[in-house]
């Protein structure tokens, strides 16, 4: 099972992205996307942004579950208070664990925002952030 995570800023710019695979059932955490799929992931995820923007006004929660489908891939979205979107491309439904993953990711993102040297919408390049996201992925997905 493979995942593609993207964090999109307020100006629809890319802030962070990560490709990984499941750690459950002996998975090694490496994504199993075919090379075609690897190239398509960012496109699929960005094309679902329109849907996110429509749905976010109807919903009063941050976690919006699955909002789009692409063949057999599902896209789940989470919109933060500052209008930053977390999008996850995945293959199987896993609402609860994805919600927990997004909530912890939100925590991590807020802590990153607290640093005076980080401005909103800037790309996140910190290795510490990357490591922590991978740990969250390992924990929930």
């Amino acid at each position: 099972m493979s995942f593609y995570l993207a964090i999109i800023g307020t100006k629809d710019n890319a802030v962070y992205s990560l490709e990984f695979g499941t750690f459950r059932q002996g998975g090694d955490g490496v994504s199993k996307f075919s090379s075609d799929m690897k190239q398509l992931c960012p496109f699929i995820v960005h094309s679902s942004l329109d849907i996110v923007e429509e749905v976010q006004w109807a919903s009063n929660t941050m976690y919006m579950k699955v909002i789009d489908k692409f063949y057999n891939f599902l896209i789940s979205a989470f919109v933060t208070a500052g209008n930053i979107k977390f999008l996850l491309l995945h293959e199987a439904r896993a609402d609860d664990s994805i919600r927990q993953f997004f909530t912890d990711l939100y925590d991590l993102y807020t802590k990153t925002l607290m640093s005076p040297f980080y401005s909103v919408d800037a790309p996140i390049t910190s290795k510490v952030f990357d490591q922590r996201v991978r740990m969250l992925a390992k924990k929930y997905l």
Binding site: T112, M114, P116, F117, S126
Partner: protein, 190 residues
């Protein structure tokens, strides 16, 4: 009867201080440093100097406030000064008590080891390779100490030698006594 510096510090902190939100301080100080970095074009050596100057201006005024609140006796030795600075001074203004250690053989130099630093909560230094080698994020504290001690007749040199933001295992500030200042008569007086 409060006698040890630790007890005096606790007592003053609990009774005579108005508290302010810690995150407000952290965010305000963080934005000061970030703005300085932008203004000086990421010349971190300059930023360190400016923080030190700002700290100096704070320190020369802060000492009056400190003496009014803490009402401690005159320190009889540099060792006592170190204790009062760490257990009362830092406690009253930042609610932290850094450890005094690494005394030099002649007793003129000591280190303050900080377990926690409220000024640097959640801070990550920029990734440009230079900041992590050159910027001392909390350098304002060095200026504050230098200014405050100068007003009580101690000329000191204060600098950070380790900082967890830079990847070291602790945050350590070295304080060296240069000389004890004698009151000088103003020029032109008989």
């Amino acid at each position: 009867m409060s006698r040890t510096p630790r007890q005096i510090g606790e007592d003053v902190w609990k009774t005579r201080i108005e508290k302010v939100n810690a995150e407000l301080i952290t965010l305000t100080y963080g934005s000061v440093v970030a703005q300085l970095c932008k203004d000086f074009g990421n010349d971190y050596i300059q930023v360190n100097e400016q923080l030190d100057k700002m700290g100096y201006n704070i320190g020369i005024r802060l000492i009056e406030d400190f003496l009014a609140r803490a009402n401690t006796e005159r320190c009889r030795s540099f060792k006592e000064t170190a204790e009062v600075v760490s257990k009362v001074g830092f406690k009253v203004f930042l609610n932290i008590t850094p450890n005094v250690s690494n005394w030099s053989a002649d007793g003129q130099q000591f280190s303050l080891i900080f377990d926690e630093n409220p000024l640097a909560d959640f801070v990550e230094l920029p990734d440009d390779g230079k900041a992590i080698q050159e910027l001392w994020f909390s350098n304002i504290l060095c200026g504050v100490l230098r200014g405050a001690l100068e007003m009580v007749q101690l000329q000191v040199e204060v600098q950070f030698i380790k900082d967890v933001l830079r990847g070291h295992d602790t945050t350590e500030m070295k304080v060296t006594l240069i000389k004890i200042l004698e009151d000088e008569m103003p020029v032109g007086d008989e």
